[in-house]
Subunit: 340 residues, 2 copies
DNA sequence: TAGGAAAATGTAACCGGTTACATTTGTCAA
DNA sequence: TTGACAAATGTAACCGGTTACATTTTCCTA
């Protein structure tokens, strides 16, 4: 246990202390710390000795104040509990770290008010840029970002008309891509299982894409919790329906996983009895039984692009352009022609 | 696109500007900002008007410098790509947010050198406390934490002898709990499938627990990637073995998921032909088919406790105590008596 | 209406670094 | 030995807030 603070007698030593102790000026010590060249090897040695003797560490906040940079980016996301966000953040963090930037995360649970509050808090702590999810946000966010003159990137979606650059997918189109796959296989009775629509423009866009695909399709939609439990539950309901759909389009892989398990439980064969399709292409989907047909969302690429765009803006003032992250259909074993 | 910086003409206005513009002193403005009581309603109004007219926002770094607090905690974890860590961080973040603290994350990919470097970077940016995973770390971490006088908490493990307080599970014991369950069901040929042991004391502890359970058990172990792919692959190998184990103890649920799928693919019935057990009790395990017997790790509780301990230390200087987060066996449908 | 306490506001030092510019020291050629 | 110039080091202002303490105003009482 090393938690007893050394209290009273030793307060953390500062640059001045080191300078005094080493018998040099603060400027020289500062130079050594930032290893600028114009210092004699001898004094450098002496100062370093004093530094380690005193256990001196520069105060990062003071430094940040003078140089005027915090090198910190804030990400405000709905949750870390879903792989898709966690993977995204993971990529953002890695790319930022490569440029010596840091990532502060804040989760909102999908509540726009919380989002605003957390964004405010991030600015309060000095982030130089912000990453948000989706296009719809409280109007006050605009004031914050312009007040702090900080760049904002909207992710997980692509929308030229948004008030900030967007780096993400065309959810509408990708849902249509999914529908087309099922349609081409011959499915005409399709049930879309999706997570909550409230405060989620991405899910909305996907659902709209599915809905507007073709009038030849008998399309039903069922909203459920965004989880395996939700998928499982939804399938439970669907199996009681009279004209049972021949295909399930799950707008998230986690929902598809729950669906898969529930169908197996009901002794229905996928894809022989019913086709199941996911959305996200999470890591496990290829290993599922049957391997899950899904829409691949290159979430790590999205994270990388997002981080890089922000860093370029901050370092070289390169304006951030919206980037369409192209998803793609990954056809695997869980979809096939409908029975009969 | 709101990315054109207003450049040259308008540099961000500061406290002094507001004071001048409002015809008051900086102290008064500062008081208004921090809504301390001793200010007339009238001047408060006037100042607030100027503030919003000038679009003034206080510089958080300057503030942090004077008050000497950043209210920021750093978490250094192997990866965000696994639910278990993401869920943990999620809980940490939420608990910190409740106390107005912020969370900076850094991932290491499990490399202790990267861990050291990232920890250094976090201290450089001014975190007041650090969360690490596991007990084994580069020795230099000690110097860092004492130099910055910052509390450190080790998580995902419980070990009184560790050099910092630990908040986590007794991995050794929990593995034995899992073994006991299988043993009591009658299993004597058990294969442990686990992720990489390198730089991972938690997995090591679990494996040791399993190994030292009983000499009556014919125990084999197979190391694989920590993923569904790894579980799938491992099962592929196991199925070729001569005396096939009657139970698989997967030291992570993700591995168990891969195993489950692979067994299904091989048309083996779980648990009739072979029992499968997981470790972590991730959200989906209850919905799996068959529902997965697993060791429940209350990862969110661990996150909450960790955050709270750090905040208490920082706010009230309450020493951080190690906390044993008790896991438990969750018996579900994937384990049963061995065949015959 | 003077006197005095309380409330409001102002002044200036300080937080802990960085850095422009000034000064000192060192080196080498004449 | 001296002068000139480069290298090393020092001085002090500054970053943008907070806050102890000083000063001014306000308001009430006698």
């Amino acid at each position: 246990m090393k938690n007893a603070s050394t209290d009273i007698e030793s307060k953390r030593s500062k640059l001045r202390d080191v300078a005094r102790e080493a018998g040099v000026s603060v400027a020289t010590v500062s130079r050594v710390i930032n290893n600028s060249p114009r210092v004699t090897e001898k004094t450098k040695l002496k100062i370093n000795e004093v530094i380690s003797r005193l256990g001196y560490a520069p105060n990062p906040v003071a430094r940040a104040l003078t140089v005027g940079r915090t090198k910190t980016i804030g990400a405000v996301i709905p949750t870390l509990d879903h792989a898709i966000f966690a993977n995204f953040l993971s990529a953002v963090e890695e790319a930022l770290a490569a440029s010596k930037y840091r990532l502060v995360v804040a989760t909102t649970g999908g509540d726009p008010d919380v989002e605003l509050e957390r964004t405010q808090a991030l600015f309060d702590m000095g982030v130089e840029g912000i990453v948000l999810s989706g296009t719809v946000h409280r109007a006050e966010i605009d004031q914050l970002s312009s007040r702090y003159e900080a760049p904002v990137v909207l992710t997980s979606c692509y929308d030229e008309r948004a008030s900030y650059p967007t780096i993400g997918y065309d959810n509408f189109h990708l849902a249509q891509l999914a529908m087309k796959h099922l349609f081409d296989l011959g499915h005409r009775g399709i049930c879309v299982i999706h997570g909550p629509l409230k405060n989620n423009d991405r899910t909305r866009a996907r659902l709209a894409g599915a809905r507007e695909f073709s009038s030849e399709v008998e399309l039903t939609a069922i909203e459920t919790e965004l989880s395996e439990a939700g998928g499982s539950e939804a399938v439970g309901k669907i199996l009681k329906e009279k004209p049972r759909p021949t295909a399930l389009l799950c707008l998230s892989d986690v929902i598809a996983l729950g669906a898969l398990f529930e169908l197996q439980r009901a002794s229905l064969k996928v894809p022989d009895d019913i086709s199941v399709m996911g959305f996200d292409n999470l890591n496990w989907s290829v290993h599922a039984e049957p391997a899950l047909t899904s829409i691949s969302l290159p979430v790590r690429r999205m994270g990388k692009k997002t981080a890089e765009a922000l860093v370029r803006k901050l370092e070289d003032d390169v304006d951030i352009e919206s980037v369409l992250i192209g998803g793609s259909l990954v056809e695997r074993a869980s979809t096939a022609r409908p029975p009969h």
